[in-house]
């Protein structure tokens, strides 16, 4: 039988506010355990939550960016359950009335666009962390993360393959970073995802029974976990069994999913509106003020790059993958004349390779956009060749000086004096009689050999164009 997969994702994006969603404690990552948990985060008797308005503005920003309905009145509710890292015994979340309603995102699969519906996005607080290591038979609790604002983005079950799920996840990841509402760091857990996966015979309308996959915190794991789960579910059905509704945990080491709890074991969360927090009311003025802070969004930027800089779809995609990279590229372009394509090659090629090698972000690049532009201008005005430019770039990366200083210091200036080049050519031809004969006998590929020899003799500094032209003339008359 042919099977169809149905996937919906729940993304938890930590909002990058300075303080927590209901307290004034810092949200900075990596502090000593429990040093960033104030009386409110510890849920001492008598404490009360106070809404951080910045978190609300960030949620609105997301809602506006996906063209969703922003609810002017939303309600915080308590989700009740016991766990040591949940200090109050309930999580403050939004249940019936979330801040962001129906919206959508467009993903690109094999050159085709596909719309993925967003059911809702709601605000809630993160829990702390239970630490099971280092406590011999006991569990430690770190409440630094407790109360960090989260935006939970819930998609419709619109995806039909793990590939689509990953494309969607990447798209959300890109967007929240563009909006500067989440740093997107999956390793630190500031961007997490659960997947609801089910299968059904192709053509069937009703959904199959779904399993919720947890603990899939990298793009690669999302793809693998979903693939494995799909196989597992098909195996179960084809061998006569039934998929049960349950929560499953992905084990990236064993590359399997295992059952965490079944529907019967699931908590009754006893949601009810939090009496400590009045409904959150947003006026038009606030919403419009947030709208004004919306940056150019990734899709719009991509289209503009293609049009304005004459880039290919692919190049535009790479260069707009983050807002910082796009800004860097545009800054380079503003300093070079009519050579956006060359700039694109350098930014997505050499520069990106160096950044990757040292695991650096574009904002940490030791070569500024202005410096890279000067380098490209030296290629353009033929001071150096593209090949030499790579050496210069390496020196710039090592902070050895400005472009011109490096060229001067290392004597890398391109030889454009035709007399000098002619002299080198003559020497090369005189030293390689055999090859000259071969060329004359019609073996034209020997031409490349001569170019190489001349470049070698000039230590790469001879202008390649001139070398080509003069070599041809010389050989013709030789």
């Amino acid at each position: 039988m042919e099977w169809e997969t149905v996937i919906g994702l729940e993304v938890h994006a930590q909002l990058q506010t300075k303080s927590k969603i209901f307290s004034s404690a810092s949200t900075a990552y990596g502090a000593e355990p429990n040093t960033q948990a104030c009386n409110v985060d510890l849920a001492l008797p008598g404490v009360l939550p106070v809404m951080n308005q910045e978190a609300a503005r960030m949620a609105v920003k997301f809602g506006l960016a996906i063209g969703a309905k922003v609810n002017k009145r939303s309600v915080f509710a308590r989700k009740n359950y016991f766990y040591p890292d949940l200090p109050k015994g309930y999580q403050i979340s939004q249940f019936e009335l979330p801040i962001v309603g129906l919206g959508k995102m467009v993903i690109n699969i094999d050159g085709k666009e596909k719309v993925v519906g967003i059911t809702r996005a709601h605000l809630e607080e993160d829990a702390g962390k239970s630490l099971h290591e280092d406590f011999q038979g006991m569990t430690g609790v770190d409440l630094n993360r407790a109360g960090t604002p989260l935006l939970e983005i819930v998609s419709e079950p619109d995806m039909r393959s793990s590939k689509e799920a990953v494309a969607y996840l990447k798209k959300v990841h890109e967007l929240v970073r563009y909006l500067e509402i989440c740093d997107g760091n999956m390793q630190e857990g500031s961007f997490r995802c659960d997947a609801n996966v089910s299968v059904r015979p192709k053509g069937q309308k009703e959904f199959g029974t779904r399993a919720e996959l947890k603990n899939i915190n990298s793009f690669r794991f999302v793809e693998k976990a979903i693939e494995i789960e799909i196989e597992r579910q098909i195996d179960v059905i084809e061998s006569g069994g039934k998929v049960v509704q349950e929560t499953r945990l992905y084990d990236s080491v064993k590359d399997t999913t295992r059952s965490m709890r079944s529907k019967e074991e699931a908590n009754d969360y006893r949601y009810f509106p939090d009496p400590d927090l009045p409904p959150m009311v947003l006026d038009d003025e606030t919403i419009e003020a947030v709208r004004k802070t919306l940056p150019e969004l990734p899709d719009a930027k991509r289209t503009r790059f293609i049009k304005e800089y004459g880039l290919t779809n692919y190049d535009a995609g790479v260069l707009t993958s983050t807002r910082a990279l796009a800004d860097y590229y545009e800054s380079v372009c503003s300093h070079v004349k009519d050579n956006a394509k060359l700039a694109a090659n350098w930014v997505s090629g050499e520069l990106s390779a160096f950044l990757n090698k040292e695991s650096k972000d574009i904002t940490e690049s030791p070569v500024s956009a202005g410096q890279l532009a000067s380098l490209l201008n030296r290629i353009e005005d033929q001071t150096i060749s593209g090949k030499i430019a790579k050496d210069v770039f390496e020196a710039m990366w090592a902070s050895e000086g400005s472009v011109d200083e490096i060229i001067d210091k290392k004597g890398l200036k391109q030889i454009t004096d035709s007399g000098a080049i002619e002299k080198i050519i003559d020497d090369v031809l005189a030293a390689n009689n055999v090859q000259v004969e071969q060329y004359k006998n019609g073996q034209e590929k020997v031409f490349g050999f001569f170019v190489g020899q001349v470049m070698k003799a000039s230590k790469g500094k001879a202008n390649p164009g001139q070398v080509n032209e003069m070599l041809k003339k010389k050989l013709a008359s030789a």
Partner: protein, 486 residues
């Protein structure tokens, strides 16, 4: 020289005039509450802590940097978190809990220079109407020590009634200030919901809890409420509205005041002796120039069932934080996490608290939420609307605070519903978020005090304080001290 018969207003004047020092005054009260400790009004008294504050207050008075309250001793209900002092909330669960911070109410009193005399006994987590659910034992009513003082602010009520403290803070979720005030013959005010910050006040039912003050006189209540009230950025449910000078309007005339008398508050279940005391009090008001108008609060009979869904629902969630993980009681032996939770909570909570957690969890559970919680919310709106309609015809509403005077200890402990019905007149006021007072109005034949209930419009505490004060100018019920405590 004795001070204990004096009001806060009088003591404040004596302190400022140098007639007495705060240390002397504080010591005198400490001696007195030691003498009458059998009443069990206090859970924690730290004389060193109190006298330290008194010394500071005396220094402030000397420098002239004092307020009307500087140096005045005040007792605090053990529901308010106090930095450095035990805060038990009447529970075994918090028997060892010392808060690292002051509740906003405590901070305000501290800033005004008042002295914390001690922490008063209360029903466990404020759940009770007789102070019999306290882990620290029942509080005795000084008017008859076999009888209950009411609850949950029973310790505060007795402290003031027996003049062990000149005033005490309380909280009122369904009548916990007004009912014990009535049963012990003192003045108590529960302000409008949102008037006093709930920050640092251990939550029972968040949408109903409200801090207030228990005093000898309405004048003291006006002075102290002025100090407690006001917007607090730490409490999102507190209302950002200026606090009027409650003392300034105490002497406004009552001529033409329209007193609404809800027929539902004078019907079946009301004790005849209580009814006649109220009748006499109303006659007094007519002499002061007020007139009475009949009104109706048709949904009052729904208030108790509505309350006993909503309050336990909120409580079941509010009390989840007492899990043995971070503070408070933790069972000594357990096999795993769930076992630790179960044993800790089984040992830490008393029967009434457990009963309400169970009721609340049930009312919120899947499949029952609509029938209980949602329905109760709808009723709550109807009950609030009754008051809105009634206040179109009158300025204040009066009636009894309780259907009977104080009952005997143990009389209602086996019948929770009978106990709950003691709050039949006070609960609707909490559901509507209105201010209410209990004003001493006389005694029954057995010599037990009766409280007159005065309910005001939303945020109109000034009016009910004025109405109470004028009555206290022509009566002396509020000055009566229980025999043996004079």
């Amino acid at each position: 020289m004795s001070h204990y018969h004096k009001t806060i207003t009088e003591l404040g004047a004596d302190l400022q005039a140098g007639k007495v020092s705060s240390v002397e005054l504080t010591q005198a009260y400490l001696d007195r509450l030691e003498k009458f400790k059998d009443l069990n009004a206090f859970i924690t008294v730290d004389s060193v802590f109190a006298l330290d504050q008194a010394k500071t207050a005396d220094a402030q008075i000397k420098k002239g940097k004092n307020s009307a309250l500087t140096g005045c001793p005040i007792a605090h209900k053990d529901i308010f978190c106090t930095d450095g002092l035990l805060t038990t909330c009447g529970s075994h669960m918090l028997a060892n809990f010392v808060a690292p911070y002051d509740a906003t109410v405590i901070k305000k009193f501290k800033d005004a220079g008042s002295v914390t005399l001690g922490k008063t006994n209360m029903d466990e987590f404020a759940m009770g109407s007789s102070n019999e659910t306290s882990y620290y034992g029942v509080v005795k009513n000084p008017w008859d020590q076999d009888k209950v003082p009411g609850g949950s602010s029973g310790g505060s009520a007795v402290a003031v009634a027996a003049r062990l403290a000149p005033a005490a803070t309380g909280t009122d979720t369904g009548g916990s200030i007004r009912q014990p005030a009535a049963l012990t013959g003192i003045t108590g005010i529960k302000p409008s919901y949102g008037r006093v910050s709930r920050y640092g006040m251990i939550a029972f039912a968040s949408s109903l809890d409200q801090g207030g003050i228990m005093t000898q006189t309405a004048e003291d209540a006006a002075l102290l409420l002025g100090e407690m009230a006001g917007f607090d950025e730490r409490d999102s449910t507190s209302v950002d509205q200026a606090v009027p000078d409650y003392v300034a309007t105490l002497n406004d005339s009552l001529k033409g005041l329209k007193i609404g008398l809800p027929e539902e508050y004078f019907g079946e279940g009301l004790d005849d002796e209580v009814a006649s005391v109220i009748e006499v009090a109303l006659a007094e008001y007519k002499k002061l120039g007020a007139e009475t108008v009949p009104i109706s609060l048709p949904n009052s009979n729904l208030a108790v069932p509505c309350y006993y869904v909503l309050a336990p629902a909120e409580a079941s969630s509010n009390l989840s934080r007492f899990d043995g993980v971070r503070y408070g009681h933790r069972a000594k032996e357990y096999t795993n996490l769930d076992d630790m939770y179960e044993k800790t909570r089984a040992e830490g909570f008393g029967a009434e608290v457990k009963r309400r957690i169970m009721i609340g969890a049930y009312a919120l559970s899947a499949g029952y939420y609509d029938a209980y919680y949602l329905k109760a919310q709808q009723l709550r709106r109807l009950i609030a609307n009754d008051f809105t309609e009634a206040f179109k015809k009158c300025d204040v509403i009066m009636g009894p605070v309780t259907p009977t005077t104080a009952f005997r200890m143990g009389d209602k402990t086996d019948d929770p519903v009978a106990m709950y019905l003691n709050d039949i007149y006070t609960i609707p006021v909490n559901l509507a978020g209105l201010p209410g007072m209990s004003i001493p109005a006389g005694f029954d034949k057995a010599g037990m005090p009766v409280g007159l209930h005065c309910i005001g419009q939303y945020f109109d505490e000034a009016r009910i304080l004025n109405v109470a004060h004028q009555y206290q100018q022509v009566t002396d019920w509020h000055q009566k001290i229980p025999p043996g405590f004079e």
